[in-house]
Point group: C2
Chain length 136, copies 2
Amino acid sequence: MIKKIEHIGIAVKDLEHATKTYQALLNVAPYKTETVEREGVKTVFFECGDSKIELLGATREDSPVGKYLSTQKEGIHHIAFFVDDLKAEMKRLQNEGFQLLSEEPKAGADDKSIVFLHPKSNHGVLVELCEDQSQF
Amino acid sequence: MIKKIEHIGIAVKDLEHATKTYQALLNVAPYKTETVEREGVKTVFFECGDSKIELLGATREDSPVGKYLSTQKEGIHHIAFFVDDLKAEMKRLQNEGFQLLSEEPKAGADDKSIVFLHPKSNHGVLVELCEDQSQF
């Protein structure tokens, strides 16, 4: 079951500058900075109510975020929904006709297991589903 | 003060089809459908935890959402943050150098008073600040 918006992912070209901007906007310091080498991404997280803002910077040009920023303007990259049972939700959404981008959950930033749905399933929105890794 | 993500606005070309898609995705029926004639937009709202998903369809091509969809793909249009004191937050952010799109709050959908920040202030993200209208 989808419980809430876990975070909004924002792809940015200058992560240091964007961190200052979002710290000023949200009036709060980031609670975590984390690099996921396998995905070629460096992330900065801010708390916002019961959700988070995740800034995404590429650590190499051929990473998913690097490729995204080479063809599109910086801005909102994805919405992540927190689910209480990721595998059950993957099965439910596949049965509803949504296209998953991986058959199995992957390890994401911020101690999450994640899977993405193809934007074409969701009127152009890249959707992430995530649950806490400790549930595995 | 920014308290939480109030909603994510998603601009779509076929509001009826998108409503079915997001009802299936979120596994919940919309709680409200509302047309804001002045803005040329029809909105459909879904609850998601402590936040909402707002689908935006244009009621005429020359409306802000109509113009947006004539030049850009459908997808995430804006993030709205709920604030406890809109005028104080507008003043704080102007002092921080953020560019507001209006000098005064406007009436938005879902009984909110709203103001937008220019995307160029926020690394490509159109940001809305909103508070409940009853606070006026």
